[in-house]
Amino acid sequence: MSALCVTIDGKDITVESGATILEAARTAGIDIPTLCHHPALNDIGACRMCLVEIAGVPALQPACTYPVADGMVVQTESERSVQMRKFVLEMLFSERNHYCMFCEMSGDCELQAQAYRHGLAHWTYPTPNPRLPVDASRRFFLMDHNRCILCRRCIRACSDVVGNHTLGVMARGAHTMVTADMDQPFGDSTCVSCGTCLQVCPTGALVDRRSAYMGRHADVQTTESACAFCSVGCAITVVTRNGRPLRVEGGFDGPNAGVLCARGRFECLEGRERVAQPMVRRNGELTPATWDEATTRVADAFRAARPGAVHAWMTAVALTETMDAMADAFRNRLGAEVSLLSRPPEGPLPNGGALADIDAADRILVVGGDLRETHPVVAYRIQRAADHDAAITLVADGPSSFSAMAHEAFPMARLNDACKECQDAARPVIVYSADLPPEARQALSGLSTGARLIPLHSAANMPNALTLGLGGAAAWEECDLLYVLLQDGVLTEEQRERARSAAFVVLHAAYRGPDDDLASVLLPAPLWHERAGTFAAMDGRRAVVKPSTRRPESVWPEAAVFEGLAARV
């Protein structure tokens, strides 16, 4: 890479060769208007908003795709470029329905912002206003083709960032339409509802059902946090207004490179009834109670229980601070046997790899599990790497949602053969389920010194649970008291059956659910966007979770509940 010198709007700028005019201009603080350009996407020069004048080049050129050359002289605001941009804008406004007055994006729309910047007071060309469909076949967001400017950001997000290749265009010219697969309704297509396209759409063409019309960017608050639903630890921005969560956006600077899964972006905000206050069982019915009444009952039950017959189950999704507080209070002060709701892996977990390593990998070995289900963001990253010629080797028993894209597949019994395939790779990455048997993990760690290994845990904060030495739920002879920190989850059928044999069950949960009928006392836990703390992500990172909404006063932080109980007993 050599340095080149260009002159843009009279400023001398030195950039690395290979930089585009747009990149060079932005390093010098020169703002060339853009529409189809997005920092996380590959540029294609589709919209022609960034046309600039280059000395010696007869036609105007798009700044986003035109590489700089040494000694190049560029005018970004010449009369000819500005006139041409206005013309482009007038054409864009004439094509479909771009009435701002009833558009969800008005105020945050990039097309509107360009019209303001260029002083468009009316529409120069007639607006034929074709009546285009609105595709509302997806659960979380819809596509209004009438607002689409065909910038293809959504298509590039789908193919270049997520590697899913669902979106494309059909037909030509004014009849061009964004489509899914072979012109399927979006809801019936291969779309995985990751919502990356929704996040990058510059206009009101892609609309989030939940947060539509709920507030413009200037009206809302944002909190940078981490998604704690699985061990990937994606960077998220939680958008809230007046203490209510509106939507979740992916952090482009985070390890997830802007990508989230349907669970982390949409499902986590779906309306579930929360446990709003403590409840105790009276005459067989769960009825509201004060904290004092509820904790008195629990404390009485603790005192009445025989030593050795007190058990506590904890979700391994709990944040480190909550986990540590619970382990300390229940083991050391309440004399309970603490175990995890999900079975922890035994033995060492070779690790050291991160999501970013997948991008550079030439061979990726996927061993066990079904990542598209359990860790979708890792699966998308592997899909993306496959587009860049990484060979994918799948080792799994039975069908996997990943098998269609694997170049080779082996049954688990032939793990060693799969490992041999990877021996010659220059930059191998091994993504494996942490629940593999120890000997399989042993085989992986012996594979090659250069390999990056990424263990996928069954629960977000499993690494911290392992440092606390917590195990899976042990069998009991008799149980006088069972305390379950459930948070957002639900019990398995087997766990529910075991809990029934306990004489007294305390359920500490964020949402009402099928397990409530087990509870003698139901205690409210904060919702995910009310929690503060950290957790150990799969790559060893300490992910920081910040609260984006305020916890209601009737819901106490979990650690305070444990402390209060320990003090009473």
Partner: protein, 179 residues
């Protein structure tokens, strides 16, 4: 020199643009010191005088045969025609109806609405006939565009002052808004 005459009128709209005009508050006095307001929907005299005005202001879209007649009369009687507000400039909210069949729209408005009892679609030769909704410039020539839903009092004040001085108003910054 006599003060230039200004007339305003409204077509298919919600009256919001004229509310915004009143929202100039005491600045209306400053405007009236520069121009003579001959007529408007919110004064006693409703129609522009037959001998004409310098500036005609229309808010609202062409939505029925009456709007069409009012727009044509204003165009004939003014030298400079201002389209005020998103409906006049771009067609506005009533354009949503263009996506539906007219019969369907009337049935919905006069009969099917949940609050309507014994509804019927009114029909009389004295009533204007609904038309496909259009912005003003698709019917008569427009000289000055003042978008906004509604345009702010600042935008209207700026436009009227510029016109009174014989200049073409240019909206920029906060005065240029589409919603």
């Amino acid at each position: 020199m006599p003060k230039p005459k200004v007339a305003t009128d409204w077509l298919g709209d919600c009256a919001g643009c004229h509310m915004s005009l009143l929202d100039m508050d005491e600045r209306i006095l400053a405007v009236l010191s520069k121009v003579q307001l001959t007529s408007s929907p919110i004064t006693d005299l409703k129609h522009p005088p037959p001998d004409g005005v310098e500036v005609g202001v229309l808010s609202g879209s062409i939505n029925n045969t009456s709007n069409l007649a009012v727009a044509r009369m204003m165009r004939k009687r003014c030298k400079c025609l201002v389209a005020m507000g998103d409906c006049a400039v771009m067609g506005g909210i009533l354009s949503l109806r263009n996506a539906f069949d007219m019969k369907e729209a009337l049935q919905r408005a006069y009969v099917d609405t949940p609050s309507t009892v014994d509804g019927f679609i009114p029909e009389s030769d004295e009533l204007a006939k609904p038309l496909r909704n259009r912005p003003v410039d698709q019917v008569v020539d427009v000289d000055v565009y003042l978008p906004g839903c509604p345009p702010s009092a600042d935008a209207i004040f700026h436009a009227l002052c510029e016109l009174a001085e014989g200049r073409t108003p240019i909206l920029e910054g906060e005065t240029l808004k589409y919603d």
